[in-house]
Amino acid sequence: MTEHTCKPSAIRTTVLVCASALAFGACASVPPPKELVSARTEYTRGEQGMARTLNPAGLHDARVALDKAEAAYTDDPSSQRTADLAYLALRRAQRAEVEAQTADWQQRQRRAKDNALHAQAKAAGEARTELADTKQELAAERDARAAAESRTRTVLAELTAAHAAAVKEEPRGIVVTLSGSVLFASGKAALLPSAESSLGEVARAVGAEQDKALLVEGHTDSRGSEATNQTLAKARADAVAAYLITHGVPAERVTTAGIGSSRPVADNSSAEGRAENRRVEIVIQTREAR
């Protein structure tokens, strides 16, 4: 029989050619499954998009999956296995792109946080500088005040030493007491010429405390009517205040009060006591002048 005379090699060649022809025919005639078409498109998109730079590993996985699907399509284009492998390739490609987008958002978030931190640090730096400036200003102010107080105390100490005035500290402030007999003639409110040297020193002393309010109080002894004493006390306080103002103390720092005989510092029954009670007190108040 003729078929038995065929050489095995000839049969093999024939079978291979037929198989190739069949496979080629199949590939040419069976369109790729929609999953494979989508996988190819999705992979190309990933390759041209962010995945190339932000997720190369994911894109590589997608390539491997796509190659498997293509091989399956070549082997058996219409099989369910080919469609399944193409489905996997599609999902891998989609995942690669989505993960690349995630990486992009994460980078943006990091950048935004860095910027915020940078801005925060800058603001903190500025605040620190401002605080340091403020501290410096406060320190300078404190030093200036201390220097002024020191000057005042020096002058007041000189006043005390020269017996021109008595100085004492009270809760309401530093009180400079000037004897009424040194400043005024009896029953008068006009300053004696001899008072001017003492008052000049006082004006210099209280003028040094630039921001402190001054209260000038007139006091009398208990002789005479209260109304007369109060009027006289007020007039004397005003006279002293006027002197201070004309000698450099800002008027807005100065207020006056006629106390009269209501706050004696000594016994009014003796001549010495009454002399002590006739006085003008200049209070360098603890509050600042407005």
């Binding site: 369910q80 399944d84 489905y87 891998r92 995942r95 989505v98 993960e99 958002w105 994460q106 943006r108």
Partner: protein, 117 residues
């Protein structure tokens, strides 16, 4: 002689057929794949796919594929079941990726102070 040859061929064909049948029947249950798919679906739920429509869609697909694969395993169609489990895993993983992308987007926009919702 010819009869013997034909008988031999018949026997061989039968054996090959049996072997093929045996091969099909002996494809073992895709237990590992099943575990992977279930674990991917669980992970998707933990990531919060329910907050993202796209993620939710892929997670749902994964669950359906998993259910179908289980039915196929019961019917002994392990090979087809295994490939469905591939799909289920891939869908669950995409659901996770999509959800994370959405979360990262929101976080970035919030950080940039440009939330557009």
């Amino acid at each position: 002689m010819r009869t013997t040859w034909l008988q031999g061929m018949g026997l061989l064909t039968g054996l090959v057929g049996l072997a093929q049948l045996g091969a099909c029947a002996s494809t073992s249950e895709p237990t590992d794949r099943l575990v992977s798919a279930e674990s991917a679906i669980r992970a998707a739920n933990e990531v919060g796919v329910s907050s993202n429509p796209n993620g939710q869609l892929h997670a749902k697909l994964a669950q359906e594929e998993l259910a179908q694969a289980k039915r196929l395993i019961r019917d002994g169609e392990n090979e087809r079941a295994e490939r469905l489990l591939w799909r289920a895993t891939a869908d669950a993983e995409l659901a996770i990726a999509v959800t994370r992308e959405d979360q990262s987007k929101r976080a970035a926009m919030a950080a940039e102070g440009t939330v557009t919702e």
